[in-house]
Symmetry: C2
Subunit: 362 residues, 2 copies
């Protein structure tokens, strides 16, 4: 039983060291490798293991196939005081994303808002990475990306949009905050994979069968690979989740002039043969331009929500970002990131393939 | 059976005339009355009857109780090239909203983006009204408002957030476009009311019972008045809908310094005794600042989505705004808006109470 295998603990700094070295051995300059590793290690630290070290091999494969250019530096194609249109030049997602969010923050500090769109980007990891960066600068951050088609529009038999995540982050007092980071599908593919491994059904509203009807069979759901939008079927307002996914596509692919919808390539573990040309959107807003005392009200809202009477006494009401805060505390207490045995195997293979010092355990 | 009563047809211009006159008889200057009537008649024209003439009496009652000031003109409290913080001065929702979106569009044309937040506003009708206005100016529009607490955070027994709608509109070629306008709850209260009248259950995931558990009993759902967020229960990712509702609150009440969350008053047909002090957010983005050819790509995306293979041949895949386009066509073909008998009764009462010429039928 996979669930019973105790995860191997790796110190956060050691996980970062290993990923930086793997990327450097894959045609990537140190500063870019560090940015990409920071992105991946942050995902693991926050408990989103699907988007952390788990993705390293895919990025490495893309770099070795020249589907992504680890050395590329983004360029600005058009700029106004509050906006910028950026060409990611097929660089690493973290490099493009950091460049864009830094630019958005600069503009937010100058004129109140910065709205930056990038074309020719690559998978940029957890959307929350960029909003967290804006929050550290006292800004409200927003970030979205299109992704490979995996989600079905309501009434459609096939996928036409990605999991198209949206993140919004806002700072509260004493380091607290609001950090929404969500796919616009009901769930990500990883959750279906977990049900399948456990041999359990998936809830109604997660995924479609090949005929376009909702399925509860985890194997069918996994093989079809067609996720339902947030809300599930039309009866439970799945068209709203579909509308949100399309909204993300409008702000990303349509606005940036990148690939969009069914034109986005598939992305596999083997790496891709073509450039992804993803579209992404980064927004920073300076709350000081609006009502004074933003962070105090943000803390008060968090407090109201966390103290709502519970349906089940054992389950506290959370605010967006709380599950990640709980995970970060756990990692700190345990002294490391708990990686699954399969992840460690992949790392061992990578270390041999790239000539990188194997990962050390706590 | 209410559903069998044929609706009475009223010409769009006549519905508008009636609403303008009722508002003028309620301490509201003509230009403000026209703006509010345009908002309400547009809701009916687009098929959102809950947000159109249906709301007239509530607005009238608020005006007569001085809970809302029909003559108030919004003022700018703070301004940067890309932002404005506005005091609605407790004016009509349409007046505050139009003022803010006009300002956002002006800024979008000057610096690429305009981001405007208003405090001390009132219910502003359909969120799509303001995004449609931005679209007519060639901009992408975004609009959000907080509302009276009616929705339960995931795991909470009680309501702490409103239906907190979000609208995003983007222009395509030849008058086509993308017009998302959705509550962040699974459904609005009106849909539960309809099931109750029909004596039918509500789907799982729409509403909670007094203990905080999902209910399918339409009477219980209606009496409890506690909607579930988009996504339904925690298992089907209702926490994402809850996160979106909280995001709207961050962009509205928290940013504008208005009432928020449980601090927002209830709103009833009898009218309110206190000022609503709602927070609202209006954003305009000039797509010309990004990749050239936005409207062409927007049309292409709409075309891809509308032509996806159907799960059910009789049900075409729609894009956000299509149900409204279908309704507008129906109204134009029939030559008028089809109002329910109860709505007409309310209008007759209003015409007698205010000394306004009764509504005429087609």
């Amino acid at each position: 039983m996979a669930a019973l295998v105790k995860p191997r603990l790796v110190a956060v700094e050691e996980a970062r060291r290993f990923m930086v070295e793997c990327l450097v051995k894959s045609h990537t300059p140190l500063s870019h490798a560090q940015q990409q590793a920071d992105l991946l290690v942050e995902a693991d630290y926050r408990g989103h293991f699907s988007h952390g070290m788990n993705r390293l091999e895919m990025y490495i494969n893309d770099l070795h196939k020249n589907a992504c250019n680890g050395a590329a530096v983004p360029t600005i194609l058009n700029e106004t005081p509050a906006t910028a249109w950026v060409d990611g030049n097929n660089g690493l997602g973290a490099v493009v994303g950091n460049f864009c969010m830094d630019l958005a923050i600069k503009k937010a500090k100058e004129v109140g808002v910065g709205w930056v769109c990038a074309k020719r980007s690559n998978h940029y990891g957890i959307a929350g990475h960029y909003t967290l960066h804006a929050m550290k600068q006292g800004c409200i951050g927003m970030s979205m990306t299109n992704t490979s088609p995996l989600a079905s529009p309501t009434r459609s038999k096939d996928a036409a949009l990605g999991t198209n995540p949206i993140s919004v982050g806002a700072p509260a007092e004493n380091g607290d905050g609001f950090v929404l980071d969500m796919a616009t599908t009901a769930v990500a593919v990883g959750k279906i994979e977990i049900q399948r491994r456990k041999g359990e059904p998936v809830p109604h509203g997660w995924a479609q069968d090949p005929e376009g009807h909702p399925t509860t069979d985890a194997n069918v759901a996994f093989d079809t690979g067609c996720l339902m939008p947030l809300g599930g079927t039309e009866l439970t307002s799945g068209y709203k989740g579909y509308g949100l996914a399309a909204m993300v596509e409008v702000f990303c692919g349509i606005m940036a002039g990148s690939n969009y919808s069914t034109k986005v390539r598939k992305w596999t573990h083997a790496g891709a043969d073509t450039e992804a040309d993803l579209g992404q959107c980064f927004v920073a807003i300076n709350p000081a331009c609006f009502a004074p005392g933003f962070e105090g009200r943000m803390s008060d809202l968090n407090s109201i929500l966390r103290n709502m009477p519970r349906t089940d006494e054992s389950k506290p009401v959370l605010v967006a970002g709380d599950p990640e805060r709980i995970h970060i505390k756990k990692v700190d207490e345990e002294g490391g990131l708990g990686y699954h045995e399969n992840q460690i195997k992949t790392c061992t293979q990578l270390s041999e393939r790239l000539g990188v010092k194997p990962i050390a355990f706590v």
